[in-house]
């Protein structure tokens, strides 16, 4: 079984983002970037499946600008076998990314495609489902547990009401929740080894996919600020304020 894992480079989850004054977006210059957190879970799961002898190869793919390759390199350092970097500049919508990934799937013929359930920058939560649609494959979204059984997967999904378990036939797409596993850290020797693993570079234009945005970003602004609150001295004061000032209890 061959597993393709898609990873995205985003502003690090610990960074408090700042909106640009001209309203054109958020500040990304000199801001720490890292792999989208649930994409780390996707890589970890693929590597674990390979370590359990149920997969033969793990290929990490990213779509994006020059520096996006860092995320593939990181995936290689935690156990992916080789990488693919589809180079494209500018804003990419999930629809365009899923079309590019479809081309990569056509070429690589993986049995499974894993990725994070949502990117923490645009918060779209679309790419995995869109890729499943384009391929007409089953989709197991928001996965918090995956059991590989021959040519089937049993996947536990996190849904609003609790948990759902489905069985999907391979080939299939799985989008991963943060609770799927605990991603490992790359050891220094593995980081060194990863430098020797191959990353194939492909220009998006060579894949014949139109990546021009369909959704225009008119402006980006800061959300309204909450007015500063107060500290109360004790529980009695808190309950009194809630009852008589805020009138919510």
């Amino acid at each position: 079984m061959k597993i393709l894992v898609a990873v995205k480079r985003v502003i690090d989850y610990n960074v408090q983002i700042r909106v640009k004054e001209d309203g054109s977006g958020v500040v990304t210059d000199n801001v720490k970037m890292s792999t989208n957190p649930p994409d780390d879970n996707a890589i970890e799961e693929a590597v674990k499946i390979k370590e359990a002898g149920k997969a033969t190869e793990v290929v990490a793919v990213t779509v994006g600008e020059e520096k996006a390759q860092e995320t593939v390199r990181k995936a290689l350092a935690v156990g992916a076998d080789r990488g693919i970097h589809v180079k494209v500049d500018g804003i990419l919508e999930p629809l365009a990314v899923s079309k590019i990934l479809q081309k990569i799937v056509d070429k690589e013929k993986p049995d499974l495609v894993f990725m994070g359930k949502q990117a923490i920058d645009d918060d779209c939560n679309q790419t995995g489902q869109m890729l499943s649609a384009l391929l007409n494959w089953p989709q197991a979204t928001f996965a918090s547990k995956i059991d590989v059984k021959d040519n089937k997967l049993e996947v536990t999904r996190e849904i609003d009401e609790g948990l759902e378990t489905i069985e999907i036939n391979v080939p299939a797409i799985v989008t991963c929740d943060l609770r799927l596993n605990e991603p490992r850290y790359a050891s220094l020797p593995n980081i060194m080894k990863a430098k020797k693993k191959p990353i194939e570079e492909i220009a998006a234009s060579d894949l014949g996919v139109d990546t021009s945005p369909r959704v225009e970003q008119i402006k980006v602004e800061e959300p309204p600020k909450r007015k500063a609150g107060i500290k109360v001295a004790n529980v009695a004061e808190l309950v009194q304020k809630l009852k008589n000032e805020a009138k919510v209890i």
């Binding site: 983002i17 923490i120 979204t141 009401e161 999907i168 402006k219 959300p223 609150g229």
Partner: protein, 317 residues
Amino acid sequence: MAVLLIAEHNNKELRPFTLNAATAASQIDIDVHAVLIGNNSAEAAKQLSELPVIKKVLSVEAPHYENFTAENFAPVVVKLAENYSHIICSANTFGKNLIPRIAAHLDTSQVSDIIKVISSDTFVRPIYAGNAFATVKSNDAKKCVTIRPTSFDPCESSGGSAPIEKIDAAEEFSNTKFIKREEIKSDRPELGTARIVVSGGRGMQSGDNFKLITEIADKLGAAIGASRAAVDAGYISNDHQVGQTGKVVVPDLYIAVGISGAIQHLAGMKESKVIVAINKDGEAPIFSVADYGLEADLFEALPQFMEELNKLNTIQK
């Protein structure tokens, strides 16, 4: 062209956020049709027809729609889409799972999780865990939009009498099989719609200690929430998680107990009307969004809180 709302339901009745999505749909276009895909779901379809904002209900029933599988639902909507300008659904796990599958089939770039309708093609949506709001204009001929339910009021639920039209089922998708659903049944209000939410974080230290929260929630008629740290630690089940990758809640009162306030958690609760933070670390970021902050050990504060509540003559429910 009318807009098409995809109803969320449990085959017996509508799920509450369908009413919020109906409101958003009616802000996009006055002509709202709704499709209900289910199994033995006639009663839910009838409820849908009673929403005054809905002009027409399309209903399809088949055994393979029993469990809301996106692979089965998408073809039904894709087939209907030619008659509609917009496909609308809630941005909860039902809509998040389903709508992108439809959008890709329609070659449409989806607009996720909108909080405001500016016009039929322009919407506001939060990005970066709600730390920025983007105003976006969709240039696709057909638009697929998911709406953040807590940003729209529920529509009226009775008084309407839209015609119900039966439509044909699409073929079953055989590569996905539903096995089971584990729903946590509770008599408490639903987290997404509760007037008061009491949430616990890593500071609770164990699942057992959550009973301190449960007591207060029961007293206040509140739902119980949690930070991701508390869910990851196994203190409480995932359906309680509030935050960027969990649920977004906008109650009248949100009480955060032992929650430090990572931006990912704030994303799910900072629009609440009144926020209370109880934390022993006075520097915790949760205090920056709290209307009332109490710097205290929660294991002392919560029993006292319960005591104070017991002293009150009346409590709003």
